[in-house]
Amino acid sequence: MTAHDDPCAHCEEMMQPYLDHMLSDEEMREAEMHLDKCAWCRKRYRFEESLRIYVRQAVSKDPMPAELKEKLAALRVPLD
């Protein structure tokens, strides 16, 4: 049986909007009720959330080069 055939499929469908805070209050309660009793779904939600935070941190480590910042400031239109 795959994850799509089991009763957790609905919880999985709600995972992305749940983590994006896009669910209604009622849907949120529904997801949380399932998460409270289902260790498998909790594990998936936790992994998804950790991954998202980790990806965001990893790609944000690349700072803007200082020379580029100077070039942008030089693009300003001079005042008459």
């Binding site: 799509h4 992994f47 965001r56 990893a58 480590k61 803007m64 400031a73 239109v77 005042l79 008459d80």
Partner: protein
């Protein structure tokens, strides 16, 4: 001439200069304010650009062109609205116009088969089950940057705007000029593709490491 000088000029125009001078001074003050506000957002704009573009050089070019265009057409920005989204709208349009993005065929492997594939890959790499929070740390920064750049551009755009740029679905829809439903479906599929790419990149790293060990 500083913003402060301009502000004083706008508040107290000399009688001799007349209303035209006052209007010009107000406009100059608004422009300086716009430029300073836009430059203040440059780190955030760059962070998004860096991953929308295919390389660092392209990101640099795109950001410069975006700011050059923004400074020229500052009057079309409505003060009080989301300036970061306005700048990103210019940037994504330039990116599309230039056709600078990697044109890849979306990967059509059976992504739906097992969305937990990446976790399994990472967890099995050291032979013991691990915390969800810890297991992601087995991915290197290179793994992530490389996997993200391999996600087809339509999907990557929404991931970069929402997950890295912190834009709402609504803002991302406006920036990209697509319906909000499309943002949601691309985001959903894009995150799955990213996970598949991360698993593949992680695998390749493992293979490379094993090869190196054998050859020494």
């Amino acid at each position: 001439m500083t913003a402060g000088t301009l502000a004083r000029m706008a508040e107290a125009p000399s009688n001799a200069a007349g209303p035209d001078a006052a209007r010009l001074a107000t406009e100059a003050r608004d422009r300086v304010r716009f430029e300073e506000e836009a430059l203040g957002l440059s780190d955030q704009v760059y962070r998004v650009a860096r991953h929308l573009a295919s390389s660092r050089e392209e990101a640099d070019d795109l950001v410069q062109e975006t700011y050059a265009r923004a400074f020229r057409s500052w009057r079309s920005y409505t003060p009080g609205t989301n300036l970061r989204a306005w700048l990103l709208r210019i940037l994504t349009n330039l990116n599309i116009d230039r056709g600078r993005r990697k044109q890849r065929t979306p990967q059509m492997q059976p992504l739906e088969a097992n969305d937990y594939y990446l976790y399994d890959k990472l967890a099995e790499s050291d032979g013991s089950p691990s915390d969800e929070e810890k297991v992601v740390e087995r991915l290197s920064q290179d793994n992530i940057v490389s996997a993200l750049s391999d996600v087809p551009h339509d999907f990557r755009d929404v991931i970069v705007l929402v997950d890295i740029g912190d834009f709402s679905y609504q803002d991302a829809a406006q920036i990209l000029g697509i319906p909000i439903g499309t943002v949601m479906s691309r985001l959903h599929r894009g995150r799955r593709i990213l996970k598949r790419e991360l698993a593949d990149t992680f695998d390749e790293d493992g293979v490379n490491a094993a090869d190196q060990e054998e050859s020494t």
